[in-house]
Symmetry: C2
Subunit: 338 residues, 2 copies
């Protein structure tokens, strides 16, 4: 664990010269000494101490990625959507030469503290957060933070989301175009869940386009887990609702519905058509393959990281809110009815 000072002594120069070499400041060091010192660095296997560097620079070249344990209790990385998204984030951040600190948090208090502890250069919140919590975090440590799938009207807040409305709209419209008229929307319907509300609005807009009204909406209120889906699926198979198709606001929920319905003698898509949301790789693996509203996670991650680094580098940017497009991935879980 050689230090700058040690290398300087071996080379018979000052620490500053070595420092300049380490930082590639060719303009400040003659070519000869530069090369010589480089050879010593190699020989004595010098690696800079980032703690020392961060201390003086007041910045650690580190991005903290937070996921909340609120949403899915227990292991957040069991969720394939979050995992895959995180993987994309990690690789883009690394491409930018920054380190990634991961933290699943319960209290947001600890989130802000971590940022300050480490003098993080930026942060990403992977799970939705209400606007007031966003403010709190921003207030406690002023570094660029991107909030994913959150909704904050404040123009300075950096957010990346998807076109939720369109998601609900295209899914419903497709079902309608296949002849379905009694269509349920399944998901967690709660005033705090802006996301689902937008999808619902899209759903209603599509209904209206086909001459129906909001009173034709069938809301299947449920938490968005596989298990809850199974319950709902059996209820559907037992004709507790008068519908022929379901737009589920999460793939896992849709898959649960599929299984629950099937266990009760219902054949998908013959007896019930189904559309999911997220387009997980799972959709291709199950039988029948699940038609789903797809968000391009890679693109979304790219947008997040780009937005973050534009902000870190202080580039003037009016575009603080990014909305990613969605599209319908057609597979086998929807059947036309006459």
């Amino acid at each position: 664990m050689a230090t700058l000072k040690e290398i300087a002594q071996k080379a018979g120069v000052s620490v500053m010269t070595v420092s300049n070499v380490v930082n590639g400041k060719h303009s400040k060091v003659s070519k000869d000494t530069f090369d010589y010192i480089l050879s010593l660095i190699d020989k004595y296997d010098y690696v800079p101490n980032l703690n020392a560097r961060s201390l003086v620079k007041k910045s650690s070249h580190t991005i903290v990625v937070f996921t909340s344990t609120f949403v899915s209790h227990g292991n957040v990385f069991k969720d394939p959507y979050l995992s895959e998204f995180f993987g994309e984030l990690e690789s883009f951040i690394r491409e930018n030469g920054y380190y990634v600190l991961v933290q699943t948090v319960d209290a947001l208090q600890s989130a802000a503290a971590s940022l300050r502890n480490w003098h993080a250069d930026g942060a990403i919140f992977m799970s939705p957060l209400p606007a007031e919590k966003i403010r709190k975090i921003q207030a406690q440590y002023p570094c660029p933070v991107v909030f994913v799938d959150s909704n904050d009207p404040e123009p300075s807040t950096l957010t990346v989301g998807i076109n939720e409305f369109k998601g609900g709209y295209i899914a419903t419209k497709y079902l309608l175009s296949q002849g379905h008229r009694r269509i349920g929307i399944a998901g967690f319907y709660d005033e705090s869940a802006k996301i689902v509300q937008e999808r619902y609005k899209g759903y209603v807009a599509a209904l209206k386009e086909f001459g129906m009204s909001e009173s034709d909406a069938v809301i299947l209120h449920t938490v968005t887990t596989y298990e809850a889906g199974m319950k709902l699926g059996s209820a559907l198979a037992n004709h507790e609702y008068d519908i022929t198709a379901v737009f589920a606001t999460a793939d896992l929920l849709a898959l649960g519905i599929m299984e629950g319905a099937r266990l009760n003698g219902c054949v998908i898509p013959r007896d019930l058509s189904l559309i999911g949301f997220d387009n997980l790789s799972l959709c291709d693996i199950v039988t029948p393959k699940l038609t789903s509203v797809s968000q391009d996670l890679r693109l979304k991650a790219r947008s997040v990281v780009d937005l973050l680094f534009r902000s870190i580098e202080g580039k003037a940017d009016s575009d603080n809110k990014i909305v990613c497009d969605v599209q319908l991935e057609l597979r086998q879980s929807v059947q036309a009815v006459s």
Copy 2:
């Protein structure tokens, strides 16, 4: 961003007193001043600078978790096994009060450098590594490192793995007990892949127990992806191999085989029985549900983190190699034959 010094000035005491309060050293500070300083810390919202602390302590309270981009090119976190495992690791590490730095690496060079850069207190390699690379890393930075699913005869190397032999054995034995006699083993068969070799040995051991010999082994050599599985599945459906059951060394591979076979008119498990490996949550979602050799990821992660921290805390420990148990999770993809 108040500093120790600032708090000390406000309080009219020395920095050391404040430092002692921050570090909870009650024995060194009178109760009155302790409480008073605590109130100031709260009032001025002081948070310690971990870079400074790490610099002097030569340790950053940080564990680096590495995953190699070798195995699955692209996004490692698409792999549900690795993601879920990582999630468990993260939560256990955090419980121990340490920070988690994630890094997917291609060259191991950069891995060792990161550790030294940050004065990491420990590291975990989530993906298998050959013994010589393990040595190299250990040589470059002497902190406790746990290697998962790697095989290093060196007794001082910390490793956590599973009983691969038993995995192959119980899967095969179960198929045999269900009357199958012509059983294939599907996986990536390569001399560097010690893991699969062990599973193969277990497979052969089970065959022998039922009066067969190694010559009865049917090796279906393939990479372990869903797509490769599909190819293999269609080959099987077209009777290119004379077998009634397959033990696949990965769930995703098994699922691919399932789909490939099905597309070619083969009904699972009626025409072909299937056992996977890893027991991903997927196994419960697909139809038919996949029987699989289960490794308890939570237990495995717990073992890794315990081993790591025992080593960090310098507790004498002869038990540097941990082998986790596996068991067969019976579901619906195996049918008895007469």
